[in-house]
Amino acid sequence: MTWISDKKLTWYESVCMNVLKTGQVPRHVAFIMDGNRRYAKRNHIEKTEGHARGFTKLSETLKWCRDLGVTEVTVYAFSIENFRRPQSEIDGIMNLAREKFELLLKERDKLSEHGVCIRFIGDLSLLPADIQRQTAEVMLMTRNNKAARLNIAFSYTAREEISRAVRDVAAGVSDGHLWSSDVTERLVEQCLYTRESPRPDLLVRTSGEVRLSDFLLWQTTHTCIFFTEVLWPDFSIWHLFSAVFTYQRNYDVIQAARADRSLRRLQHSTDGLLPGTARPGDSVTRPGDSAGESLDSTDSGSECAADDRVDSASQSAAAQKRVQSFLSHLDAARWGRLESLVAEGS
């Protein structure tokens, strides 16, 4: 049992993968791994065994994503709402989590070899103390790995994430690090758990449900969404190929919508300058300048860059400095909390 599966593809799977890779491949794929319990019921096994098979499927799926060239994966492993499940089931899931997170710690070398950075996103303070320490240790252990990133949403809901980000920004204003006029979409996004990550290009939900269930609501406004009936433990490489093919077929229209959005935000920010932003004499780029022209290219990574240009266009140099200083301070505080957790446990 491993997080980094080495299972080889069959020749026809390889051929199909190589064919798909000549087209647009999503850089960041998010999964709502739904259906473990229904799988367990259908196969007359315990729920915890269903969750265990779900983990095996996750490991396989991560391998397929790596082979496809997907550099970032976010998975919805446990929602804050799931704490309402029977205690016995929660205990089973937490025990499985302990086992798998311990495995992550043991596979440090393999993670380094593949350059995988692991990030746990969610309100981790709701988890048992030992699991909090494990997650902190894994994040610290892999923070310098840069080739790929796996975000595990554990004790997570999008509304909690967004409101926490706004609270952090408000705290920055209260402490004098920020002005209220410094608050932009990009600033709030950089305070979310998924900061530094490009927005998901593709979201896959299994088990036939057709809702987002409070997952990455801010980040997936312009994401290709693929709903499939298959239960998560039965998810196959062919389902992943279908999802990527669907992404390719929707690529142009979604990218056009993203570009349009970025341009509208740039026009809005430069036409109606917010108080406390650019002043006479400050340089402000406008549509048609280099910022506007480069908005044509809007894959998920350059969309973040485009958002940065929107902020640069509308904010004074002083505001940008305040924002950078605030974000550095926030980042340092978050890593400091993780280091404290690990230190407490050792």
Binding site: E81, T157, S163, V166, V173, S180, V183, T221, F226, A257
Partner: protein
């Protein structure tokens, strides 16, 4: 050489899919042309269908991701929803075409279709932009309808999504800066109350997507938390039976709420 072959294969696959979609669409349109259009049932039957649903959304979202807007479809969805007892309908088009066309296009269609379906029965439709106050209704009555059938319709576009959340964040930060609020008072419950798009409305329990794009393109992200998203069939104008099937399908969905 292999790469070129793979690339050609992929292009061929996409071409085949596109051709299949075009042929299927053409055949469907031909069939619609020559088949008898099912007549929309009378109001009493539609109301009875609505009563028989296992569950009805309090707020129905309509997400328009198609190139051409079918105004009759939008008018019909609003009126059928009214007959079903759905009191809130949000129409979302990211670029604001619905807002821009509400006077010249939507209202005339609403009035025509309302007369055809409701006749002399009072029906109040309040159109509003985002979280703005309701304007005059389709039948000329004021916003305070006292008829049995009434619906509020929010005309939404992209700034009503993430933009609304950012504006709320800015307002809260201004209150914190002035000392009127503490930063740690901000949680997910109070933040939701700060949003202005469809303010004080229940979250949309169901969203019908009009168009083939597999994305929601910015529709009310905060409110979308538990929204069931169903795709409408491609036929325009949408038939009543298709609307009923969508609502019936919604009625059969069970939400486990995390448990």
């Amino acid at each position: 050489m292999k790469q070129l072959l793979y690339s050609l294969l992929l292009k061929l696959l996409h071409l085949l899919f596109t051709c299949a979609e075009l042929v299927y669409g053409a055949v469907q349109r031909l069939m619609w042309q020559f088949s008898r259009v099912p007549v929309t049932p009378p109001l009493a039957d539609i109301c009875a269908n609505g009563q028989q649903l296992a569950k009805r959304p309090e707020h129905l979202g309509v997400i328009i991701v198609e190139k051409d807007i079918c105004w009759q479809t939008l008018a019909d969805i609003i009126l059928w929803s009214t007959a079903y007892g759905i009191h809130y309908v949000s129409l979302y088009d990211r670029s604001g075409r619905v807002r821009a066309g509400s006077e010249q296009q939507l209202r005339p269609h609403l009035e025509r279709r309302r007369r055809a379906l409701f006749g002399a029965v009072p029906c109040t439709v309040s159109l509003m932009e985002g979280g703005a106050e309701p304007g005059p209704t389709a039948n000329g009555h004021s916003g305070d309808g006292d008829g049995q059938y009434h619906v509020s319709v929010a005309l939404l576009w992209e700034p009503d999504g993430v933009g609304d959340m950012v504006a709320a964040a800015r307002r809260l930060c201004s209150e914190v800066a002035s000392g009127a609020r503490r930063a740690d008072s901000i949680d997910r419950h109070m933040f939701g109350d700060q949003l202005r798009a469809a303010a004080a409305w229940p979250d949309p329990a169901l969203a019908i997507k009009l168009g083939p794009v597999r994305a929601l393109l910015g529709y009310l992200p905060w409110q979308l938390r538990l929204t069931e998203v169903l795709d409408a069939p491609p036929r325009r104008p949408l038939l009543y039976r298709d609307f009923h099937r969508l609502l019936t399908a919604y009625g059969g969905i069970q939400q486990r709420m995390g448990t």
